[in-house]
């Protein structure tokens, strides 16, 4: 029963992701595109929850949906008028984009579907507890990630300063 419910939810999320992704790149109103992106991100978070990575799902929701999307919305509101539609894309450009996208999707999809390398079920190891995550993040042993963590933090600091430098009025 749980299995079936999981599958239903999975297909629901998949439908949301596919439809909203396509809508996000084809909508001519930029604010709507951002909204569709928000839905995609939420659905992605749903995937993570389904895969029992609850922490990652929470991170996805807070950082992506809560942080980045808000930035996007601010930027959109600063740079375009409400209700403004972007110019129609020239058919030539659209044709090239479609060709690249469809050809890529076809090759990758065909390759994926003709090769069987996935177990249909993952081992139900339950969710990762925070302690494991915390240790892995702060440890200095093999398969532990203190150094990347610190590097990321320095990167974020640099980004803060850089962002201020770039965006401030002169």
């Amino acid at each position: 029963m749980e299995q079936v419910a999981n599958q239903v939810i999975f297909f629901l999320l998949s439908a949301i992701i596919v439809v909203c992704s396509i809508m996000a790149v084809t909508s001519r109103r930029i604010l709507r595109a951002a909204t569709y992106l928000l839905f995609v991100l939420f659905a992605t978070a749903g995937y993570y929850f389904q895969l029992d990575y609850h922490f990652l799902g929470a991170v996805q929701v807070t950082i992506y949906a809560g942080g980045i999307l808000v930035l996007f919305v601010f930027a959109i509101l600063l740079t375009s008028k409400l209700g403004e539609k972007s110019d129609r894309i020239s058919s030539r450009k659209r044709a090239w984009g479609l060709l690249a996208a469809v050809l890529g999707a076809a090759i990758c999809g065909y390759t994926l579907l003709t090769h069987d390398f996935f177990p249909s079920q993952f081992a139900q190891g339950g969710e990762l507890d925070m302690k494991t995550v915390g240790h892995a993040l702060m440890g200095m042993d093999k398969y532990q990630y203190l150094l990347p963590f610190e590097a990321i933090s320095v990167l974020l600091l640099a980004c803060i300063i850089g962002g201020i430098m770039i965006a401030r009025k002169r």
Binding site: K93, W96, G97, L99, A100, L103, G104, I107, T111
Partner: protein
């Protein structure tokens, strides 16, 4: 003679100085600088002449001296071009003539060109001309002569076109340059033929008799005429172009568009006799090809008659003088043409020709300078605007009369002696040429006095302001040249310049002399009767000979024939197709290549748009293709 190089160097320095710094000088400084330089080289050339003719004769002739000579360009064993200074009787005589006339013209121009725009440029060009003319006459070899020959052509071009804002002056300068260039093509071909067979450019070698053109071209003919004759005729063609021989004379009347002193210097006294000088310089070679000498005689005689007839009806005084110049140069050519040998009686013509060159330079310069003074006074070239000027311009009147008497051949003026020698030489050759040239001499006297009476006598034209005598700077040269004209005839010319170099005493052939004087007097009397008092006789005469008058007035339509040949035939049937071919086939090929390259790059340009998105598409498609190949084809 050690300082003879200064004669050549000084005018060149003057040209460089005036040409480069002239615009910073005042008119006065530039004029005085040019004139004083010219006087210095005049004195130097007199000294050189005195030294040269004072030196002892060797075997009865004056030795040829080459004070400077160096090899300039060596190509092969015998083909090398040298530069140097060669002094022999004719080049020394030419030095004297050129520097004298040139210094007089320089002095005269101070007054004549006073206040003109481009005064410094004028003096710079005059110096350039003097330099190149002097270089021409002292050339040691035919190639050096050719170089300076072209330089005088260029300076003549520059001076004819001095008033470059005037359309007619520009056209005249172009015409002069193109016609003489065309003739110089023949000259160059002649030089090549001559030096190919004789293996030398050197005048001394060519004229010494060591190499014989006729000998080396033995048996070689082209179109039935021997190669030796071809070579000498082609060289003569160059001379004919410079000396305005029929039918290459058309540029000279138009060249009168230049300032009058320039006409006096270049187009009367010095440059136009370069052709005569050239033939004289190579005369020992010409003597070996008698058919070319006959050719020269015929050309000269035809030109003399033609120019004299045309001069009789022209109304522009400078044109009358221009045709008179053509006619007189033709006299010199005829004199050279009738010379049959280097020594003895047959060589009289050579001496007569050089003598006439000398006297003609003086009196024709005088005539032109006088005409310049008249034009200066009445501001017009047309005879109808003049008349009765003798009261206002006494000095010009007297000097002009002296020159007219000289050119008409009245003793004791210089023209009589030299022209008489020419007539004697012509009679020596054959009675036909003698009678012909006597007739032309009569015509000369007639048209000169027609000019004289129309200017100084006849009906007094209405002048806007009273004509006045020219300033001192202009009248001094007139007086000086008039004095020379009076006394130059008594120079024992045969003592200095003869074909072989041996001294030759001139004996007046009194039969010939008396005939020529009679003819001249009759012609003058006719002119007096027709033109001295205002009357309608000239008009009636023109009426009765209307067709001849019209033809002569339009110079027998020679210019129109040239125009027809060049425009209607050459331009239309040769130049136009060539131009078409050039424009459509030659240019077309280039344009096609350019268009192909351009369109190819235009289309390729799209790839380098700089748009990141296009790059991304291409990159992705490429990646996909590689992925597909790697996954499914390998």
């Amino acid at each position: 003679m050690e300082y003879s190089y200064i004669i050549l160097l000084l005018p060149m320095l003057m040209f460089i100085t005036l040409g480069l710094c002239g615009h910073k000088m005042s008119h006065r400084t530039a004029g005085l600088l040019g004139t004083s330089g010219l006087f210095i080289i005049t004195i130097l050339s007199y000294i050189v002449a005195a030294q040269y003719f004072m030196q002892p004769r060797v075997d009865g002739i004056y030795p040829t001296v080459t004070p400077y000579h160096f090899e300039w360009l060596r190509f092969t064993e015998w083909l090398h071009i040298d530069l140097g200074i060669m002094l022999d009787p004719i080049s020394v005589m030419m030095l004297v003539v050129i520097t004298t006339v040139s210094s007089m013209v320089h002095l005269y121009s101070l007054g004549y060109m006073h206040g003109e725009v481009g005064f410094q440029r004028y003096y710079a060009f005059l110096s350039l001309f003097t330099f190149s003319m002097l270089g021409l006459v002292v050339a040691t070899n035919i190639f050096q002569m050719y170089i300076f020959w072209e330089l005088v052509g260029v300076s003549s071009y520059l001076l004819i076109g001095f008033y470059y804002t005037r359309q007619s002056a520009v056209a005249a300068s172009k015409k002069a340059f193109i016609v003489t260039r065309f003739a110089d093509l023949g000259f160059l071909l002649g030089i090549l033929l001559l030096s190919y067979y004789t293996k030398t450019f050197d005048f001394a070698t060519l004229t010494s008799g060591d190499v014989s053109l006729v000998g080396t071209t033995e048996g070689k003919t082209f179109l039935g005429i021997s190669v030796a004759s071809w070579a000498m005729a082609l060289v003569f063609m160059g001379g004919a172009g410079k000396s305005a021989m029929f039918p290459l004379h058309i540029w000279l009347p138009d060249a009168m568009e230049g300032p009058t002193p320039v006409s006096a210097l270049i187009h009367a006294a010095t440059m136009v006799v370069a052709g005569v000088f050239l033939v004289a310089r190579l005369f020992p070679v010409y003597v070996t090809t008698p058919e070319v000498l006959t050719f020269i005689t015929v050309i000269g005689a035809v030109t003399a008659l033609y120019a004299a007839v045309v001069a009789c009806v022209q109304t522009d005084i400078k044109r009358v003088l221009a045709f008179s110049t053509i006619s007189q140069i033709a006299f010199m050519m005829v004199a050279l043409g009738v010379t049959t040998e280097m020594n003895g009686h047959g060589a009289l013509g050579y001496m007569a020709s050089m003598f006439h060159l000398f006297t003609h330079a003086m009196f024709k310069a005088l005539l032109f300078l006088g005409a310049g003074a008249i034009i200066h006074a009445v501001h017009s070239n047309e005879m109808s605007e003049m008349g009765g000027l003798r009261k206002y311009m006494p000095i010009t009147h007297i000097t002009f009369l002296i020159a007219c008497l000289a050119i008409a051949g009245i003793p004791p003026f210089s023209g009589f002696f030299s022209k008489d020698e020419i007539l004697a030489a012509a009679f020596e050759k054959s009675a036909f040429w003698g009678v012909w040239m006597s007739l032309v001499a009569g015509l000369t006297a007639f048209y000169m006095f027609r000019l004289y009476f129309n200017i100084f006598w006849g009906k007094e034209a209405h002048h806007e302001h009273t004509p006045h005598e020219a300033p001192k700077t202009m009248s001094i040269p007139l007086v000086f040249l008039a004095l020379v004209t009076c006394f130059a005839g008594f120079i024992p010319f045969g003592h200095f310049v003869t074909a072989s170099g041996l001294s030759y005493t001139i004996h007046l052939n009194w039969t010939v002399a008396a005939t020529s004087i009679c003819i001249a007097v009759v012609a003058i009397a006719l002119a007096t009767w027709l033109y001295m008092k205002p009357n309608d006789k000239p008009a009636r005469m023109a009426e009765s000979l209307s067709s001849l008058h019209r033809w002569a007035y339009h110079r027998f339509y020679i210019d129109e024939v040239y125009m027809f040949v060049t425009h209607k035939i050459i331009f239309r049937y040769i130049s136009t197709p060539i131009a078409w071919f050039d424009r459509h086939v030659v240019d077309g090929t280039m344009n096609l290549m350019a268009t192909l390259t351009q369109s190819a790059s235009y289309h390729i340009r799209g790839l380098q748009s700089g748009r990141l998105q296009s790059y991304a598409v291409v990159f992705l498609l490429g990646a996909m293709i590689i992925a597909a190949i790697v996954l499914y084809c390998i």
